[in-house]
C-alpha cells in the first residue's frame, strides 16, 4: 500500500450562524485504502466532506492534495482534484435520464461539438457490466427506485475515475445483496489505487471494509483507529463519549395502557400495502427500515398529509379518513416532521409564534389571541423542555438544532397530544440535546402518551423503542421487542427477510 498521503486536511474549522460545525479537525486519505469516517448525527462528517466536494468553504485550515495546497472553491475544482462524491441524499436531477445525470457537466462530444449520445450510452452499459448493475441509460431518474438512484450516483462518481471517492451513507437505501455488491466494487476500486472515504452509521459495515477509522464528535476530532483495533465498542465509546446506557433512558419499569393508535389494512397505492399495527398508551414504537420503504408514507398518511386508499386509522378512539390534518390535531394527534427547516418551523418567526401555532384556539377568545395566556403556556413549555434562548421572542432560525427540535416538541405538547409521531427525533441535534430529547420522550410516555418514532439511525431505533417494526418494500417484515433487537436481526428484516411476526393477544 502506498504510504504517502494523497489527501490531507488540517486544522479545519467551519462555522455556521449559531453553531461551529467543525473545529480544528484533521483528516487524511491514502490512495488504495478505505478510510471510514464515523460519528453521530450532527458530528460534522457531512460538513467535512462538503468541504472536499466544494460545497462549503472552510473558515480556517488547509487542504492538500498530493502535497499541494488547494482551495476547493466549487464542485468543478473538486472534480479536477480527482475527488468523486456519492452524496448521502439522492443528489440527482429527477427530470433527466440516468445517462444525462451521469454525464451532466461532463458531457462527451463527438467531433462537431455535438453530444455523442451513443458513446455516453455505451459507457453507461460498460459501467453496468463493470459494476454488475442493470441501469437503463434512458430511464428517467424520477421514475427510479431509491436503490437505483443510489446506484446511478455511484456510477456517476466512478465514471469520473476519481483518485479519492467519498461515499456518504451509500448503503442507506440498499438491500443486503446490493450492499454486498457495493463492497466488491469498493474492493476492486481499492486495488486499482482509489482512496475511499466511507461514511456510515452501520458499524458492522465499517468493521468489514475499513482500513482505518476516524471518529468525530460534536465537530471535533476524537481520534483514529487502525485496522485490527476496529471494534464496535471502541467506535461507539469514542463517538458517544459515554456508554449507551447513559444515553437512552431505562424503560424497564414502564407499563403500557390501552391501544391509543390502531392502524388496520392501510394501503397507499404504489407505496404501502395493507399495513396494520397498534401503539399502546405509554409505549414507544419505532419504525425502521432502509430509506423509502414506506415507513414515512405510513406516518404521513396517519397524520393526514398523504392520502390513503384503503384501511382505517383510529387514534384516541376516533376513526379518521384520508386527509384532514386539522381534524387530527383537534383529536390530539401530533406529528414532529423530519424536515424541521422545510416544513416544520416558520424560521423567520419567534419561538412563541412557532410553539403556539397548532393550539391557538386554546388561547383565543372570539378569534382574538389572548397574549397573556399564550405567553404563559409557552413559558411553561420552555422551562419544561429547557429551551435555551434569550427570550420567547427570539427567531427560531437563530436557534441550535437541538433547541429547534425542542420548539417543535413544545408546539405539539401544547396540543396535549394522546398520540405523538416523531420523525427523526434527533436529526441535526447535538449529543447533549439528544439525551434530553430522549428524556423528554420518556417523560411523555409516563403520562400515557403513545409515541411513534421513525429513525434511520439503527442505534437510536434499538435504544429508544419498546417495540420495533421493520419495513421493506411497503410491508412490515418484522416486529421485534426491545430486548430481542440486534443489528443483525434488524438488517435482515430491512433487506426483506420476513421474520415471524409475534402475535399479541
Amino acid at each position: 500500500m502506498n504510504t504517502q498521503m494523497y489527501l490531507e486536511m488540517e486544522h479545519i474549522t467551519k462555522r455556521f450562524p449559531g453553531v461551529t460545525a467543525l473545529s480544528d479537525v484533521q483528516f487524511s486519505c491514502r490512495l488504495g485504502e478505505v478510510h471510514a469516517l464515523v460519528g453521530e448525527n450532527g458530528a460534522g462528517k457531512s460538513t467535512l466532506m462538503n468541504i472536499l466536494g466544494g460545497l462549503a468553504a472552510p473558515d480556517e485550515g488547509t487542504v492538500r492534495i498530493d502535497g499541494h495546497e488547494v482551495l476547493i472553491r466549487d464542485p468543478n475544482v473538486s472534480f479536477s482534484c480527482g475527488i468523486g462524491f456519492v452524496h448521502q441524499e439522492s443528489n440527482l436531477l429527477t427530470n433527466l435520464t440516468v445517462c444525462e445525470n451521469i454525464f451532466l457537466a461532463r458531457e462527451i462530444y463527438s467531433g462537431r461539438r455535438k453530444l455523442d449520445q451513443e458513446k455516453m450510452r455505451s459507457q453507461v452499459q460498460e459501467m453496468n457490466d463493470r459494476l454488475g448493475y442493470h441501469l437503463d441509460p434512458d430511464a428517467q431518474v424520477g421514475n427510479l427506485k431509491l436503490a437505483d438512484r443510489q446506484l446511478t450516483e455511484i456510477a456517476r462518481a466512478v465514471m469520473q475515475n476519481p483518485k479519492i471517492l467519498i461515499m456518504d451513507e451509500p448503503t442507506a437505501a440498499l438491500s443486503k445483496q446490493e450492499v454486498k455488491r457495493l463492497f466488491q466494487i469498493i474492493e476492486t476500486l481499492k486495488k486499482s489505487g482509489v482512496g475511499i472515504i466511507y461514511i456510515s452509521h452501520r458499524l458492522e459495515e465499517i468493521i468489514e471494509i475499513a482500513d482505518r477509522v476516524t471518529v468525530l464528535k460534536d465537530g471535533k476530532y476524537v481520534g483514529g483507529i487502525q485496522k485490527g483495533d476496529i471494534t464496535r465498542d471502541k467506535m461507539i465509546s469514542m463517538m458517544v463519549g459515554r456508554t449507551l446506557k447513559d444515553i437512552y433512558p431505562d424503560r424497564r419499569d414502564v407499563v403500557f395502557g390501552e391501544e391509543m393508535l390502531k392502524i388496520e389494512g392501510l394501503t397507499i397505492p404504489g407505496k404501502v400495502q395493507g399495513i396494520s399495527f397498534f401503539v399502546r398508551a405509554g409505549e414507544i414504537v419505532g419504525l425502521g427500515g432502509l430509506e423509502g420503504q414506506g415507513q414515512r408514507d405510513v406516518v404521513r398518511a396517519v397524520f393526514g398529509v398523504e392520502p390513503f386508499s384503503a384501511g382505517t386509522v383510529t387514534a384516541a378512539g376516533v376513526q379518521y379518513r384520508s386527509g384532514g390534518i386539522a381534524k387530527r390535531i383537534r383529536g390530539k394527534l401530533g406529528y414532529v416532521t423530519d424536515d424541521r427547516r422545510g416544513n416544520g418551523l416558520i424560521l423567520g418567526q419567534s419561538i412563541r409564534k412557532n410553539a403556539s401555532i397548532a393550539s391557538l384556539k386554546a388561547f383565543s377568545r372570539a378569534c382574538f389571541i389572548q397574549g397573556k395566556k399564550e405567553r404563559q403556556a409557552v413559558k411553561e413549555q420552555m422551562e419544561l423542555l429547557q429551551i435555551k434562548a434569550s427570550s420567547m421572542e427570539q427567531e427560531t432560525a437563530t436557534l441550535s438544532g437541538g433547541n429547534q427540535q425542542k420548539v417543535m416538541l413544545a408546539r405539539w405538547l401544547l396540543v396535549h397530544p394522546k398520540v405523538l409521531i416523531i420523525d427523526e427525533p434527533t436529526k441535526g441535534v447535538d449529543v447533549g440535546a439528544r439525551v434530553s430529547v430522549y428524556q423528554i420522550i420518556n417523560d411523555l410516555t409516563k403520562v400515557g402518551i403513545a409515541v411513534v418514532i421513525l429513525t434511520s439511525d439503527m442505534l437510536e431505533l434499538m435504544g429508544v423503542s419498546d417495540r420495533i417494526l421493520m419495513f421493506y418494500e411497503g410491508q412490515i417484515t418484522a416486529e421485534i421487542l426491545h430486548d430481542d433487537a440486534t443489528e443483525e436481526r434488524l438488517m435482515q428484516a430491512a433487506s426483506g427477510v420476513v421474520q415471524e411476526v409475534k402475535e399479541h393477544e
Binding site: P75, L93, T94, E107, K114, L115, K145, Q293, D297
Partner: protein, 326 residues
Amino acid sequence: MSNIRIKPFRNPKVGSVAVIYGLLLVVFAGMAVVSPSYRSIENIGNIIVQCIPLAIVSMGQTIVIIGGGIDMSVGAMISMSTCIAAVTMSSDSAVSVGGGLARVLLASSGAGLLNGLGVNSCKVPPLITTLSMMTVLSGISLAILPQAGGRVSKVFADFMMLRAGVLSVSLLILICVYLLLRRAMYHSGFGNAVYAIGNHQGIAASMGVKVKRISILTYVAAGVCAGVTGLLLASRMRIGDPVIGTSFGLDSITASAIGGTSLNGGEGQVSGTIAGAFLIGMLSNMMNILGVNHFYQYVLKGILLVAAMIIYSISNTLEVKRHAGI
C-alpha cells in the same frame, strides 16, 4: 410492489408534444371543413406568416421557463426593436440596414443579458427583474418614437416579407431559429444544464453545472428571439411602434404553457411551443374569419390555456398511475 416510491414525472424529452400537434391538426381540419376559403393555399400562407412572430418570441420564452425563470419583458423588447429599426434602417443602403440589424440585436440581447445578471448576480426574482426591465424598455421605446412612425427600408422589408405560396422568408427564419435552439437544447451540454437548473439549482450546482452562466444565457436567448421578432414586425408594418409588442409578453408564456412547458421549470420543449403559438394564432385567425368580436378572442385564449392545463394535468395523473402499477 416493486415500484416503490415513484415520483410523478413525464419525460420532458418525449413530453406531450404529440398531443398539442394533434390538437392543432384537429382545429385546422375542423375549420377547413366548415370554410372552403380557409383551406386555400393563400390563407394557409397567411396564417403561417401571422403566427411566426409569436412562435419565435415564445421559443426564447420557453428556454427561460425550462431553466426555471420567466421573462415578462420580451414584449417591450419587441416594441423597442421595431422603434430602433424604424429610426436606424430608414435608407435602403447596406450600411444602414446592416447597422440597424446589429443595433436591434445588440439592444435586445443586451437587455436579455441585464435580465440574466439581475436574476443571477443581484438575486432579484425573475418576475420582478423582468417586469422592471419591461417598464424601462417601454419608456425607452416611447423616447425613441413617441408614437408609431419612422421608416423601415423598403428593400429590407420587402425581402423579409417575400412569399411564395406557403413558403416565405419569415418561415425560413422560424425554421433557422428552431434548428439553432434545438441543437443547443438537445445536442449540447447547454440543454441538459438548462433542464438541470430548472429542476433544482442546488443539485445542479453540486454536480458541477455553472448555474449562473447557463441561466444568464437563457435570458440572452430570449432577448435575441425578441429582437428577431421585432425585426419581422417592423418589416411587416414598415414603421416602428412603441406599443406593438405589449401583448407578446403574456402570449409567449401562454404559448409555452399550451405547448407543454411546465411553469415550474425543468420540463417542456421548444417544438411544443411552436405548436402552442400556432394554435393561438390559428384561433384568432378563425374568429376573424367568422367575424367574432375582438374582445371574445381574449376570452377564448384564456379558456384555451385552462383547457390545455387540464389536459396536461389529467395525462400527468394517468402517467403516475401507470408507473405506480394501478
